[in-house]
Subunit: 316 residues, 2 copies
């Protein structure tokens, strides 16, 4: 049998057919075009599934189930998307609407949660009891494995580590609070500080690489300049690692997991990020005479969302 996984993002939606071993048979990407009526997005996803199945010659009866990862809060029992700000969805009965069209069982889950499921089944969380996934991208996604199972919280709205306070009365966050972790440890934070550097530090490598045009700053550019020992970029990077280390140590002091996996665009910097991060976290752990949790790059990459969503039917 096969399962179909859908990873809805604010910009792109990735749809894939996955086999019983967790291998991707084929994927197809579509523009989400967030903001348009939900029925249009649902119809486009259904049609993409039809195209995919035809392309690989798999019949609908060979599809065990469809799973969808949504960037927002999901009641995974009812399959209702309670709120997904990027999509402008609120109380969307996604499971029911998709089952009507597809005539297959549909499972719906938060996007970070499906990535954690992929790591648990096939990636760095295999065999772990307690694990934390942080995806560092435009926003901060987080998911928890507790006692070997996905942890959803009491109202299906946990796992918003991005909105834990890191700096009381710090930077204004889009959620209305101040000083949320998300303001300091995402790619967006690197871009913000990189842009500041273009304006305030015209001699920096970030400034020269962008010709002084701050709109050209990306998180990757800041990281690349830091790797090349540009002092300004390295300062931004160290401050970033400091904030990320504090965030992770905070969660570890509370939850004492086996492992923290870092995903998302920022994680592509690999050991360059992990080395100082591990040092910072170790320094900040309350108990210093027990082994610190492992900190690793998430293994499942861009396809974590599709694979995890496809395997939702195995987690019920």
């Amino acid at each position: 049998m096969y399962q179909i996984g859908i990873d809805i993002g604010g910009t792109n939606t990735l749809i894939g057919i996955v086999d019983d071993n967790g291998a991707i048979v084929r994927t197809r990407s579509m523009l989400t075009q967030a903001g348009r009526p939900q029925d249009d997005i649902i119809a486009d996803m259904a049609s993409a599934i039809g195209t995919l199945l035809k392309e690989v010659g798999i019949g609908r009866e060979e599809v065990e189930a469809v799973g969808v990862g949504v960037p927002g809060a999901v009641d995974s029992c009812s399959g209702v998307v309670v709120g997904a700000y990027n999509l402008q969805w609120r109380n969307v009965p996604l499971k029911d609407e998709m089952e009507k069209i597809l005539q297959r069982p549909v499972y719906v889950e938060n996007g970070a949660n499906v990535a954690a499921i992929a790591e648990l089944m096939f990636g760095v969380f295999k065999g772990c009891h307690n694990a934390l996934l942080l995806t560092l991208a435009t926003g901060l996604g987080s998911a928890l494995i507790i006692n070997g199972k996905l942890y959803r919280g009491s109202h299906n709205v946990g796992n918003e580590a991005g909105h834990m306070t890191l700096v009381e009365d710090g930077l204004q966050c889009t959620c209305g609070n101040k000083g949320c972790m998300e303001m300091y440890v995402t790619a967006t934070a690197l871009v913000r500080e990189g842009r500041k550097a273009v304006i305030e530090q015209p001699m920096s490598m970030i400034s020269s690489m962008t010709g002084g045009n701050f709109s050209l700053v990306t998180a990757k550019l800041v990281m690349d300049c830091a790797k090349k020992h540009d002092l300004v970029a390295y300062g931004i990077f160290r401050q970033y690692v400091h904030a990320l280390g504090s965030s992770i140590a905070s969660i570890c002091n509370m939850l004492d997991p086996d492992i923290i996996a870092i995903g998302g665009g920022v994680s592509k910097s690999g050991e360059f990020l992990l080395k100082p991060l591990r040092e910072d976290v170790s320094k900040k752990l309350f108990f210093k005479n027990v082994p610190p949790p492992r900190i690793e790059i998430a293994a499942m990459g861009n396809e974590a969302g599709v694979i995890g969503a496809a395997k939702l039917c195995k987690m019920q």
Copy 2:
């Protein structure tokens, strides 16, 4: 049958005989005299148990088990106290040593965890899936119930919510880090700010109530002055609630529990604390269209430690 619970504190140790319904038959308090050799403390506890049993006419064979709550990190499988700073204990095989003397099964657990067990079996956590206990005293104790069970973490060293960062690069904490929650939300924080007021705000009620002697400031005094509408004390209280609200909202955004229970000395202010606290937490929750977690005063009071410790044998 009966169980014996021991609640070791930095100053006092409370020992109690508990019946099968969780009712305390009799307790006895002793000075811990932290810092003296562990064998002396263990011998004193064993002797107090002997006295207690004699006083109520219960035979040793009627004692099902002995449970001990320790203010520190405990490996609850081996019964070894990994580290208890207040007691100056490190790697103390408490279970083995006490079993040798008492000839009864002994269970050892972190002190905040045993209080959470008492709340789960007989108090405000009854029937809850996910719950957080915060005890606000000299330090900040915390314990988690996850999926209806005590959560211990992967290395038995979780539940140190007090050492989550609330203010990046904030006040220096005794643990070596800066800006830990413990620096802002404990009775100690209220005392610190109250003392500052005695010096800096001589017209405040805190100053007049202590005759300008800052060593007379207690957390209760600051709370009492705030209740009497003294502006300086109320300002300290509001700032305190603000920090506590941020701390709780942070944990809720991550863990989405059913309930948070507040214990410890500060919790005696009851609704005066709870009302503004609930408002602050609700404002800071990321998802505003789901019911907020309940925030209540812990129900088991000073005997939570003894009752929870006594019932450790039921949680294995």
